[in-house]
Amino acid sequence: MKKKVDQFVLRIDPILCDGFGHCHELAPELVRVDEWGYPIIDGRPTPLNELGIVKSARLAIRGCPRQALAIEYTRSDQ
């Protein structure tokens, strides 16, 4: 049987991003900022059962003034 997606990575379009820093405010667990205010997101997937982190990821996506963020769902067995 095919396993369902069970984890996600927050992806950022670096061209759209203008370094507003909202994502860092809204999802500090996932996003750090560098010295110029641009977000640093490590590529490690987060399990979807971490509901709090999923919620802040959604908030960050909605809160981005440049709409530069997206969630990419993946499967842990891949």
């Binding site: 670096p14 061209i15 203008d18 110029w36 997206a70 990419e72």
Partner: protein, 441 residues
């Protein structure tokens, strides 16, 4: 069939036996012209045995792209061929690397070989059109390919339509996504591709972007076969490749060598300084390699563990008298200026790194802290641009700090460096354009 269509006898040629394949028999007169070219290389037959035949052949030959990323060409061909939609082939001869002249040289000496290869590639993916892209500032190359195309229209009018295009003269304009974006009448700037490999489109046609030299290899593989191609080179990196050698050499040259040649023999063949301090491999976004690694082989599987790669076929020799740090600084400053300034980490990070290197070079009361900061900034920037431009600079700086650790220590310790004060430069870096003159078209 019109009478001026030239049909040479197919038996007239043998496969080149030596390591000079692309540049085989350059002593014959007029091989840049189509009749002369056709005496050496017959007209490619149509790919009637099924489109997949050539792709299989390229796969068996193990050809990897010669533009820098060394991506398997067959995978690219297959991705576009299986898309099942309209497609075009783009011959990438933009060659933004200032230290490289290999594609320019090939397009001037053997324009028809590249065009033959592009015709094969187009046939194998079912492309309806070929675009040959050459840097607008490279007039000689534009002229040679322009003449070649005219000849083809005259002698072989039934071939696939080829269009010659002059691209903007920017370093990142030759990047695949930037080139495709420009072909779509938009700015020649790299684009964000969340998933790779990513098939791009010009209008509604899928695009196959292939480096000029790679095209020439595709043409040869279709003529002489995969086994012949594998006679040169190593198991994982078969074939020959062009290398542009400059720096501490008799004169800058472009050589054709089999992949896997020892670096020392490569230097010897180029009449280079036989006891250099270091060499720059791959290009301005490449890596420095210390002299202790000169017994390594020139192929990716041997160079990758050392942090370097064949890259875009560039080798710059830096002698012992040079200051590696100042050579690196000039490259980094230029590369920072060539950034498209789309992504924050590249637009702000690269100038910051350049400034750090410059204060290291000049000497400062807190050099140690600056050195630590450069390393920190390098790791922060890496992998955060839409294209690989910042990653290349980071790789260069990281390798410089390692390879020239003695120079760096001297500068950090406040010891004046003799070479840094000298006006002799080894890596040819073009003059920087002021930011106001950087037009993105």
């Amino acid at each position: 069939m019109s009478t001026n269509v030239m049909r040479p006898t197919p038996a007239a040629i043998d496969a080149p036996t030596g390591v000079r394949r692309l540049l085989d028999r350059t002593d014959l007169p007029q091989t840049t012209l189509l009749p002369g070219h056709r005496q050496i290389y017959t007209r490619p037959g149509s790919v009637r045995r099924g489109r997949t035949h050539l792709i299989k052949l390229v796969e068996q030959a193990g050809l990897r792209g010669r533009g820098g990323a060394a991506f398997p060409t067959a995978t690219k061909l297959r991705a576009v061929a299986e898309g099942g939609r309209r497609s075009v082939v783009v011959v990438n001869g933009t060659e933004g690397e200032p230290a490289s002249r290999k594609d320019a040289m090939l397009l001037q000496v053997r324009p028809h070989l590249v065009l033959d290869g592009a015709t094969h590639a187009a046939a194998s993916v079912g492309a309806s059109e070929i675009y040959v892209c050459i840097d607008r500032q490279n007039g000689a190359c534009l002229q040679s390919v322009g003449r070649a195309l005219q000849e083809r229209r005259q002698y072989e009018p039934d071939a696939v339509a080829v269009t010659l295009l002059a691209t903007p003269p920017r370093y990142v304009a030759g990047e695949e996504s930037a080139l495709v974006h420009w072909l779509n009448d938009q700015g020649s700037m790299p684009q964000y591709r969340p998933t790779r490999p990513h098939i791009q489109h010009v209008g509604r046609s899928a695009v196959l972007v292939v480096n000029a030299e790679t095209n020439a290899h595709v043409g040869l593989i279709n003529r002489f076969g995969a086994e012949w191609f594998r006679e040169a080179g190593t198991e994982q990196s078969p074939g020959t490749t062009l290398v542009a050698v400059s720096g501490a050499v008799e004169r800058p040259v472009v050589l054709e060598v089999p992949l896997g040649i020892p670096l020392r023999s490569l230097l010897h063949e180029a009449d280079a300084d036989s006891d250099p301090q270091a060499i720059l491999l791959g290009g301005y976004g490449g890596a420095w390699l210390g002299a202790e690694h000169l017994d390594s082989l020139y192929c990716n599987e041997a160079l990758r563990p050392l942090g370097a790669s064949v890259g875009a076929g560039i080798l710059v020799v830096v002698p012992r008298v040079a200051c590696g740090l100042s050579e690196t600084l000039r490259i980094v400053e230029w590369m920072a200026n060539e950034s498209a300034r789309q992504c924050g980490p590249c637009a702000f990070g690269l100038p910051a790194i350049a400034k750090d290197l410059s204060s290291l070079l000049r000497g400062s009361h807190d050099s140690r802290a600056i050195l630590a900061r450069v390393k920190e900034r390098c790791s922060v920037i890496e992998g955060r641009g839409a294209c690989r431009h910042p990653d290349g600079v980071v790789r260069l700086v990281k390798s410089a700090l390692q390879v020239f650790s003695d120079d760096v220590e001297a500068h950090v310790g406040g010891v004046p460096c003799v070479a840094a004060g000298s006006s002799r430069r080894w890596v040819a870096v073009p003059a920087m354009e002021p930011e106001s003159d950087l037009v993105w078209e």
